[in-house]
């Protein structure tokens, strides 16, 4: 059983749309079992799903895990709460405001500007470049930025 080394391997597979974070940090690797890597899609229609599966296949094959299958599991549905703390930091450093934790929504849901840290920001568009992001703007440094939506 090589679960440990497979997890390490997968932690080096980048998300195709946000390549600074790995698919493990994004929380879409649900399990590594005896014979399979279990992935879950972020959104049902996310076109990156196929790219991710083929990147995982390539990584597994390269490391000699040709007999490990890839299975897809949609339930329980993916939530942004599964994005790890490291993942959130990497998103912020990359210029994407990370999603708030869903149990934390009572307070402010205004994301801080990932460039200057100001919380003086406004939403420009509820939908952004990908289904998981919205477009925001900082009212202090005037930079637009992506905000990873709570889902």
């Amino acid at each position: 059983m090589h679960a440990g080394s497979i997890w390490t391997l997968l932690d080096h597979v980048p998300d195709p749309e946000i390549p600074v974070i790995s698919i493990v940090e994004l929380g879409i690797v649900r399990d590594v079992t005896e014979g399979a890597v279990v992935l879950t899609p972020t959104y049902t229609g996310c076109p990156a799903t196929f790219a991710i599966e083929s990147a995982v296949r390539t990584a597994l094959d390269k490391a000699g895990f040709n007999d490990i299958a890839i299975t897809r599991q949609i339930d329980p549905p993916w939530t942004t709460d599964w994005i790890s703390e490291t993942g959130r930091e990497k998103l912020r450093a990359y210029g994407i405001a990370p999603p708030p934790h869903s149990n934390n929504l009572r307070g402010t849901t205004t994301p801080a500007c990932p460039q200057c840290g100001s919380s003086h920001t406004e939403e420009l568009s509820r939908f952004g470049s990908t289904p998981c992001k919205a477009l925001w703007r900082c009212l202090d440094c005037a930079e637009p930025f992506d905000h990873f939506k709570c889902h």
């Binding site: 049902t44 229609g45 339930d75 549905p77 509820r126 289904p131």
Partner: protein
């Protein structure tokens, strides 16, 4: 008499067809919507709907066991074999009509998927739980747009009222009961059970939007039995063009 796999497959196809056809319709807006924000909104909803359709139709294909998958079901059936509701195949019209249709459908679909999250069929329940999270977002944004247009300018209010009026005759069909065997087995839900919740949600938004609830009229039905408006054939001729011209072409 219990529900068999064929019955469940038929149900999954009707759910999948709703999502597929509306997803295709919304795709027609891509690059044409009035602002970038709404263009992205409509395209993203379309993407979610096509994702739902893929899950539901793939599952139906597995249940049938006749070698059809989601793609086969989407691209190799003719108009009479589609069992989507009539609302989703209606032409986009202007932006007001598109938003009114989305508002009605997403509010319906949200309640449907929330109820189906407890389906005794584990796959349908799983798909419904996943999709309900996305549809909640569709319903919220469509409702916000109803208010923006209804409580906007004189022209936007008039246009969205016309769109609502056009779409209204297709609402009752959404609440037609599916196969009684499936309801009894707990696989399907009878949408009549959440009609009061639907009406309350719609009325609350219409109040905020300063729009009147259209008068009830004789419902237009038939989609679930394959009796469609002329619009569906035109939609399919575009959606299925490639597979009809080059059967079984692959990327």
């Amino acid at each position: 008499m219990g529900a068999d796999r064929k019955d469940i497959a038929r149900y999954a196809i009707s759910l999948g067809d709703d999502s597929l056809i509306l997803g295709q319709r919304l795709g027609e807006w891509c690059g044409h919507a009035p602002t970038l924000e709404i263009d992205l909104f409509l395209a993203n909803i379309a993407l979610d709907l096509i994702g739902q359709a893929t899950l539901l139709l793939d599952y139906a294909g597995t249940l049938e066991g006749e070698g059809r998958d989601g793609d086969k079901l989407a691209f190799h059936r003719d108009v009479l074999d589609f069992t989507n509701c009539l609302l989703v195949e209606q032409p986009n019209g202007d932006f007001g009509r598109t938003i009114a249709r989305q508002f009605l459908f997403s509010n319906f679909q949200l309640l449907l998927f929330q109820a189906l999250s407890n389906s005794t069929d584990a796959t349908i329940a799983g798909i419904a739980r996943k999709a309900a999270k996305e549809v909640a977002y569709h319903a919220r944004v469509a409702s916000e747009w109803m208010v923006r247009l209804g409580d906007g300018t004189e022209e936007s209010a008039q246009r969205v009222a016309e769109g609502l009026d056009w779409s209204w005759r297709f609402v009752d069909e959404l609440f037609e009961a599916p196969d009684a065997k499936l309801i009894e087995a707990g696989v399907a839900v009878d949408p009549a059970s959440f009609r009061p919740a639907f009406d309350a949600a719609i009325d609350a938004v219409l109040r905020d939007a300063c729009l009147a609830r259209p008068a009830d009229r004789r419902a237009t039905v038939g989609g679930r039995r394959g009796h469609h408006s002329e619009h569906l054939g035109h939609l399919l001729s575009q959606m299925q063009f490639l597979q009809r011209t080059y059967p079984d072409a692959r990327w």
